[in-house]
Symmetry: C2
DNA sequence: CGCAGTGATGTTTACGTTAACGTCTGCTGC
DNA sequence: GCAGCAGACGTTAACGTAAACATCACTGCG
């Protein structure tokens, strides 16, 4: 964010900052060079306290040629406006106690110099950055990007920006590394969207004392967690299918490493057991449509399969394609339910019955929780905040063939 | 990111702050502890200004009790380790000139206190933040989220974090507002992903002197622009269809406000004109599958329509559904080509022929360009950097029915 | 006329870090 | 035994901002 027009305000003549050195004695770079010592190396032998006689002052800013020192600071504005920098500060922050004419002058000077407050200095002063860090593993799933978007939007509404730290491979080291970087970064709190069970497995621990909220995890006993109510969603999907008269429900899972996938599979199994139905062997996918297609091809071979609960919409798309190719009509012969309710699912062939997940709400709650922690200063209240789901019935489900 | 152990370093006794007061009176750390204050508690009675009588102090942070002043600073570590803060700095930054044993002691102290460098101070000192700002309008399109992901990944690899500023409605005011916020934020440069022509229309201008790269825009004459080669992609789609023997190609556009949509439509029209084919009236969509469906229903009524170029894959999904519902076989009667090559498109029914867009590469180049600007300090070299596309032929296209 | 009371503005200082420079210790070589 | 030197470590200042405190010019009143 450096500006690069060194001499914009030429007209005002001597207005230039002189590079910042200005303040004390100007001192041409030439003379300031010499170190001044050489003289009595002995006398101030001890400590000397303030005792900085003679030219000692002019150090600093030892910046060689150009570069560096370009940004316009309050001092520059103050100089041009002929006031103190404190007055500039007051104007900049809209504090009272500045008379109209002065304010005008300051504003004019700001405009002329293109002044922008330096947030590093501000953050240093206030001890906070108005920024929330988001650590996540991959933005390419619809869920994550929507959640992040919601987080960004709500954070912005509260005056916070968000900083993204991606993790390419979710190993413990990487997560910790990201956390370290976060710690060094300008963030007041952190939201972790990992979707893999590292945190809940206890293999990774967040640094204590950091304001954090975790999404999509089972670590509610140790952290503040926000998540979609996976179990409820999966259960409602299974019940919907059983309610239509299907004898049992097959399942295409997400990747084993995913907490959400695990949770959904668990709930699916439980719902079947509770209803006293047989539990078919689950087919494993990896969230991608391609993996759903593969699973779908196998399901198409299962004569007894009349209903499938697929762990996300994209895999459901693959399943639909496979069934279509194999000539098994949906929902005539096989009913399919997805999870997520991505916008496209209404346009699948046939339009998909699916479990709606409110990513925006998840994001909203994350921000809310994190802000509460920041503002109240307390430590993270552990516990899990579940966002409800909603079954959206479209055209991919029907009673089983007679 | 506040820690919450107020007095962990008890052992050192009265060592606590007194802060940098040091300078004026030498004074041994011990006695210098409580200088000044205690004196005249009354005089500042007035001050009026903010007029915050009584509990006045607790402003900012509105935090009641303790709070504030908790973070562990180098001085704290230094105190515990019995060295100067400069030495701590050296250890923290891996600078040479620290003997092993000392280093160990400092590291131990750091661990004990849970020290983390304060990046605000660091940024203030260095004059840069190692952060790139990304201004964007909506993260929910696949393209944007992938681009952002790539940006984040590559930026991270270079030691930069990214800060996201979402814009809910892309009006001029909002964009400018975002820019202002960015200016105040801790960023060294900005990447703008607007996908609407505000910049190219000249209605919005980026503050001069800011290192910026713009994605998806026509402002190459004034800014540094990175974009997918929309025109080439659209052209290859049209040529593919014409090459299969179709007399002409229909088109479903994206929203009028989108630069990319406009570009694709333009190229489509041009390609047809160049080939001397009639140009059917374009149908307008809004990127969503639903709008594609609507358009598809109308196309299904057009007897002469044998080939459609849809401006993105999601709308293509809708078109496919509409054609399927109306009993028009794809690609038997109608061929369809999309744009984007989202991962799902391989699982559409039928698998979609589409123009592959390399979002990751776009992100990579953005980071690269922006870093070059930062490092070389120069002003933005305007010009457009086009990322090539690639036609992916799948099963949704075929020669027209005889 | 002097003084308390304002309101506008200036001055000092601290925030945490680190470049630049100073000092001190220990050692080499003569 | 000491000059000379190198390496370890301490001290100071400065980055830009804003709270706290200080100062100054008035106003109104006894």
């Amino acid at each position: 964010m450096d500006l690069d027009d060194p001499e914009r305000q030429a007209p005002t003549g001597g207005a230039r900052p002189g590079g910042g050195a200005q303040s004390e004695g100007d001192a041409h770079p030439a003379e300031k060079a010499r170190p001044a010592e050489g003289a009595r190396p002995a006398d101030h032998a001890r400590q000397a306290g303030g005792e900085r006689p003679a030219g000692g002052a002019r150090r600093g800013s030892g910046v060689p040629g150009g570069r560096r020192r370009q940004r316009v600071s309050m001092a520059d504005v103050a100089r041009l406006a002929g006031v103190s920098s404190q007055t500039v500060s007051r104007v900049a922050n809209g504090h009272p106690g500045v008379i109209g004419s002065t304010r005008e002058q300051v504003l004019a000077a700001m405009r002329e110099l293109g002044y922008r407050p330096n947030s590093a200095a501000r953050a240093l002063r206030y001890g906070q950055f108005n920024t929330i860090g988001v650590i996540l593993f991959n933005l390419s799933t619809i869920g994550n990007s929507r959640t992040v978007e919601a987080i960004a939007t709500h954070a912005a509404a509260e005056g916070y920006a968000i900083t993204l730290i991606p993790i390419d491979v979710p190993t413990q080291d990487n997560v910790l590394g990201a956390f370290t970087r976060m710690g060094e970064l300008a963030v007041d709190a952190v939201i972790v969207i990992l979707e893999v069970h590292l945190l809940d497995a206890g293999t990774v621990t967040l640094p204590p004392g950091v304001h954090a909220v975790v999404v999509d995890s089972d670590a509610g006993d140790r952290y503040s967690v926000v998540d979609t109510d996976q179990a409820e969603g999966a259960r409602s999907a299974v019940r919907h299918l059983l309610g239509l008269g299907h004898r049992t429900v097959w399942h295409v899972t997400g990747p084993e490493s995913s907490f959400a996938a695990q949770r959904r599979a668990q709930a699916w199994r439980l719902a079947l057991e509770e209803a006293g139905r047989p539990v078919p062997p689950p087919l494993h996918g990896d969230w991608s449509a391609g993996s759903g297609y593969t699973a779908g091809l196998r399901l198409a071979e299962e004569p007894g399969c009349t209903a499938v609960f697929v762990a996300n919409d994209q895999m459901a798309l693959g399943v639909l394609r496979a069934l279509h190719e194999r000539g098994r009509s949906v929902p005539g012969e096989v009913s399919v339910v997805g999870f997520d309710d991505i916008p496209d699912s209404a346009c699948f062939v046939p339009p998909l019955t699916t479990v709606h997940q409110d990513f925006a709400e998840v994001g909203r709650r994350c921000v809310q929780l994190v802000l509460r922690q920041i503002r109240e200063g307390g430590t993270a209240p552990s516990g899990t905040d579940l966002v409800p789901t909603r079954l959206v019935v479209r055209a991919s489900t029907a009673p089983p063939p007679a």
